[in-house]
Symmetry: C2
Subunit: 340 residues, 2 copies
Amino acid sequence: MKPVSLGELAARAGVSPATVSIVLNDRPLARHVADKTRLRIRQLAAELNYRPNHLAKAMLHQSTRTIGFICGDIATPYYAELADELAKVAEERGYRLMTQPTRWDIEKEFEALELLLTRAVDGILMYSMIGVTHRERLEKLCRPGQALVFLGNPSCNGFRSVGFDMEPGMMELFSYLLESGIREIALMDDLRFHQKCEAYRAACRRYGVSPREYEFHYGDLESEIACIDRVADERPELIIASSDYVAAMTISRLGQKGIRVPEDLSVVSIDGTRWAELYNPPLTAIKQDSALLARAGIEELLSALEGESEPHAVEIPTTLKFGGSVKINSTRSNRKGSER
Amino acid sequence: MKPVSLGELAARAGVSPATVSIVLNDRPLARHVADKTRLRIRQLAAELNYRPNHLAKAMLHQSTRTIGFICGDIATPYYAELADELAKVAEERGYRLMTQPTRWDIEKEFEALELLLTRAVDGILMYSMIGVTHRERLEKLCRPGQALVFLGNPSCNGFRSVGFDMEPGMMELFSYLLESGIREIALMDDLRFHQKCEAYRAACRRYGVSPREYEFHYGDLESEIACIDRVADERPELIIASSDYVAAMTISRLGQKGIRVPEDLSVVSIDGTRWAELYNPPLTAIKQDSALLARAGIEELLSALEGESEPHAVEIPTTLKFGGSVKINSTRSNRKGSER
DNA sequence: TTGAAAGCGCTAACAA
DNA sequence: TTGTTAGCGCTTTCAA
């Protein structure tokens, strides 16, 4: 049972396709169509369950009203929440979201960019470092000014980008920790994504803390586990984990070794998703607000689609969110230690 | 700088569009095209960064090679993992996935169905109860045999569906619990989704346990909290939570009231995602394997697209996964208590 | 108040 | 070995 086309509908109504199109789309000219005809068309459309063919429309306007979201990971809490927010904001603006997970595979990210090039989507949001690491290859495909926005990391020079400014949250964290008498503050991260790391180093400098970095690679489970094991051996007072996910992995694995959080070792995570709040203990975190990121990202993309030619590099400030995964030493600094 | 069309490319190469199409798509006839011409076309295409217009192709075949996934929630671990698996399997089969979160809003679910009707996607996977609860309205839009597969709940009579069989996991759980000396087994769920509930009742009957049910509504935070508070007051020995997410919420909130899991109250969750393993304590769970669901779901959808007319109702068995959120009473039953 | 025709970019069938 | 033509379903002039 094939769907009816506008043409067939017109034939059955005894009018031309043009008339049907005008009526069903409520074009200004529809006011000049005889009431009888208009009603007949409408009724017939409902009866036959007529639906305009999205493909034909898209072809005509050369637009699918779809935004692509290319992302290394969509199953982890931070990205899952982000994808959800993006879909919501996109919908508000009359777009759909097509999410392409790439499992942090550079080749796949470039493949996914073809979505944009073949015009299967109108624009692309990309959570990736290729704007920095694979600059030339990227430029061969898309010149700045295209409907491509990098998410997460700002300062993809020349390309549009919306990311977080890690500094405020990091500074707030350090100030809080030092007040609480904690000085051995280590970072566990994929150092290829250097923003968190840079904010960490800046904070270390400012507060006179000597940096300790534990490196692993996103998506490489073994390196993550090895990294946690090193932390367990060397036992800093506190470890900043690069995400809620990594924090959960860390606490879980430390627990298996009999190391308790926060009693034996404190953990601070970066992200602060709903999961961080529900974790046991609730995670103290540098909060990256995915709702803000989503909104700003889509705004920037739409402004590109509307022909706004100047690319922006938006930065969204981070904040500190208190949980229960940091051990408070001195009692006097018990300011807002637990919020719930 | 507008993208070049096949027509322009042909003009510049001094050949007809048809020839270009044949060459670039490596059609059988391409072997009959002069080597010189073929090379010239290929080279020019690369130089001009030619990309076929996806819309035009789609229009021709009346297919976008895209599958829609309509789902109430995509931010919660179980659904996030499922979306990830679906995207992966779809990609293997040459399709893309378009995820439409509806935040459990029935109207939105019907709206999203328009994706299928307007042919913006080739088929739809739907995680929803409307196949059961809004049968007539649904039938008015799509008759069985259409490229629509219900996920999660089997037995959407007449419609294709792929879901879980909760019984094996539930029975295994009960047998384990009774062996461990736990008899007060309660369920916390949205009873509108009656599968889990039915398996629970069946297990209660079989094992002579008197059912205790705590009801809340998905997506309604207040009802969830109220539900947990009732559980805290009435304190069954063990509570089966309808998802990893709900289990985490429960344990977190119980913790705030000073009730520890599993010392004071045991919790078993349903889902068994990666998050369940990383939780503290790791959750004992009835496992719903999202990779299996994804694969079976896509298979079923593709078989519909390929014209296989007989709708199936596939059921995937659940299993019990051991964690540390159940308090073991008797020592003799310490069989595989903790697995990690 | 309505209809006819052209065209969006591509492909497949048929000619040459 | 290559070109011509028609058409996918819809919208938008322009003409009647």
